[in-house]
């Protein structure tokens, strides 16, 4: 069977595994994706005659709770990687499921937030503020879902990978973690920009 090159050992010229360089290049493109939408936010805000204070329309306690949930999921993700570094598969799996669980809590809170808005007749078409709010948080939510799918996959299918080549699984989980922390990082900016300013 063909072995993938430089997925366990770093490539001599870059000093990195191909997977790590790949995920960082992908994250760079993600920065530009969200950057474009943040630019749209600035354009709408400075171009509009008025701009609401997010806290008057949105639920700050719910969003604060969700911020704490995402930050906690980042620590469980990094602990899953640390457990793999120690070759402790049971602990790794526990932290991975905890991360997915916290992702689910985040999505549930978001569901209540969205349904409350829609119930009050506040749609993306209601105002430019709500349009950019739904666009930015919706795109972010898609990223949370994508991250949860990958984390669930490695939590369930990781055992055979661990038996075959534990360092390869450790690297893959580190790369998954990089994506998950990026999703957390985007929320760290979305929260004050949309809810508090």
């Amino acid at each position: 069977m063909l072995e993938l090159p430089y997925i366990v050992e770093p490539r001599p010229d870059t000093g990195l595994t191909n997977g790590k360089l790949g995920i960082w290049l992908f994250l760079a493109s993600e920065v530009m994706l969200f950057g474009g939408l943040f630019a749209a936010y600035i354009m709408l805000r400075v171009g509009g005659p008025t701009w609401p204070v997010g806290a008057d329309i949105l639920n700050v306690p719910m969003a604060t709770f969700n911020t704490v949930v995402l930050i906690t999921s980042s620590i469980t993700m990094v602990m899953a990687w640390a457990a793999l570094m120690r070759r402790n598969y049971g602990t790794y799996q526990l932290y991975m499921f905890a991360t997915v669980g916290l992702g689910l809590v985040f999505l549930t809170v978001k569901y209540f937030e969205y349904s409350h808005k829609l119930h009050d007749g506040l749609y993306p078409s209601t105002s430019t503020f709500l349009a950019i709010y739904f666009t930015l948080t919706g795109l972010h939510m898609l990223h949370v879902i994508a991250g949860m799918v990958v984390i669930t996959y490695f939590a369930l299918a990781g055992r055979s990978m661990f038996r075959k080549n534990p360092q390869w699984l450790t690297n893959r989980v580190e790369h998954t973690g990089l994506f998950w922390h990026f999703v957390d990082l985007v929320w760290i900016f979305l929260f004050p920009v949309l809810y508090l300013m």
């Binding site: 870059t14 600035i42 930050i71 620590i75 973690g177 990082l185």
Partner: protein, 101 residues
């Protein structure tokens, strides 16, 4: 205990410290926006400065940027540059509207 295990213990202590800092900074952000009643300019500045500190902590420690290779730094440096160019475009548009040029 081996050196590797000791090193991981040290890493985990750092992660927990960063986690605690992130929670405290989140509460400070919310408290400052709810109770300080600053004018809009300083209010935005405080919120963005705290968010940047939090993002730096996540990137440096959870994403291991603090000990990462130069190539990743180069990729990120380029990304950050273009990110600010992207943000500058609407800001300059707004400025030209205000000055009428």
């Amino acid at each position: 205990m081996s050196n590797h295990a000791e090193e991981m213990d040290r890493h985990i202590r750092t992660y927990l410290l960063v986690f605690g800092s992130l929670i405290v900074l989140t509460l400070i952000t919310v408290a400052s926006s709810q109770f300080l009643h600053l004018p809009i300019g300083p209010h935005i500045a405080v919120a963005l400065i705290i968010a940047t500190i939090k993002a730096t902590l996540v990137a440096c420690f959870f994403m291991h940027l603090i000990s990462e290779r130069k190539l990743i730094m180069a990729v990120l440096g380029l990304t950050v540059f273009f990110f600010f160019v992207l943000l500058l475009v609407p800001a300059m548009t707004a400025l030209s509207h205000e000055t009428g040029h």
